[in-house]
Amino acid sequence: MNKEQFIATINEYRSLIYKVCHSYCPNKADHQDLEQDIIMQLWTSMSRYNGSVKMSTWIYRIALNTAISYYRKEKNRSHVDSHSFIELARHTYDAETDEHIKLLYTFIDQLNYLDKALMLLYLDDNKYKDIADILGISESNVSTKMNRIKIKLKNFFHPEKA
């Protein structure tokens, strides 16, 4: 895959990369660093994509792995002067103004690093079987964990009913 094709692939999955970065690093400087890490990792890995799984599944795996590793690194990282490869035209859409989405991101922020991945995959309409394949756990495990997350979500948005 040459650079032009790679850029086209990144373009196609730009929202997936953005959502992973935003869920693991709401802070702008971290978001940019993580985005760079994910893109570099994807570039490094792209030549090994053999089509055995869907491209979105494959990108999810790499993006989530990079995000989890980044998230778990020791704090007080020094930020390199980075720029965004994926930019949001804020005058047309600002996720921060969408109250439900903002709350959802706040909720995701409270989850642990593995539940964050699970929630993201679920919200992106992946089937339990696909989530299980991407994460490497059983389908029943996905179902149990999702039920717990749903309860947490309910309590988060309706604490009075908890």
Binding site: I7, S15, R61, F85, I86, D124, S138
Partner: protein
């Protein structure tokens, strides 16, 4: 709002993102991404270079041990250096194997995180042995043998002259390594072990 409503809000969010996100092609084209490929391979390349370094040095020190077999001090130094080098080689092979077990592209997230944690734990444990035993042993034995071979100086003949030079350095190194070990390696190894336990629990929890 229930989960399905959140899900549809999220899918709408995804649509809006796709419509409004743009990639900075100019910046992407400008970045030398091949450099990142080399950066990511650096630790593995370092281990492969070390592997060949040990392979070359082992016969050298075996040769020196055999050459000075009649001098017990030199023979012991030769044997110790060889043992340290063989140990270094074994650790190196162990680390290279851990590197090759990582498949960033086809392994599920949790399995890959586990392998990354095992690699980190392997590297940290090996580094402890390297810092505590391998480096000081190699430094002292190589110094003794090389001085004997290249300059004909036998350090054991006038050890009282060399000891004041070597001992303070050795003392500082030992105190330093104990300190580093306590506050750096042990803490990091504990963190990695904790991560491994978390991952195992996450996989098994039903």
């Amino acid at each position: 709002m229930d989960i399905n409503e959140f899900k549809s809000a999220w899918l709408q969010h995804d649509r809006k993102l796709t419509e409004n996100l743009s990639i900075n092609e100019t910046l992407l084209k400008k970045v030398n991404m091949d450099r990142s490929r080399k950066e990511l391979n650096k630790p593995l390349i370092y281990e492969i270079v070390s592997f060949f370094f040990f392979i070359i040095l082992i016969p050298v020190f075996i040769f020196l041990a055999v050459l000075y077999r009649s001098e017990s001090n030199m023979l012991i130094c030769g044997i110790l250096a060889t043992v340290a080098l063989v140990l270094g080689l074994v650790l190196c092979v162990k680390k290279i194997r851990l590197f090759y077990r990582i498949d960033y592209f086809n392994q599920p997230v949790i399995q890959l995180q586990e392998r990354l944690a095992l690699l980190k734990s392997g590297i940290l444990s090996a580094r402890k042995i390297e810092v505590f035993f391998l480096l000081p042993t190699l430094f002292i034995t190589a110094l003794v043998l090389m001085l004997r071979y290249l300059r004909g100086i036998d350090l054991f003949e006038d050890i009282s002259f060399f000891l004041p030079l070597i001992l303070p350095g050795l003392l500082v190194t030992i105190v330093g390594t104990v300190f580093i070990n306590k506050y750096l390696y042990d803490k990091k190894i504990k963190n990695v072990e904790h991560l491994l336990m978390e991952l195992k629990a996450y996989q098994q929890e039903v």
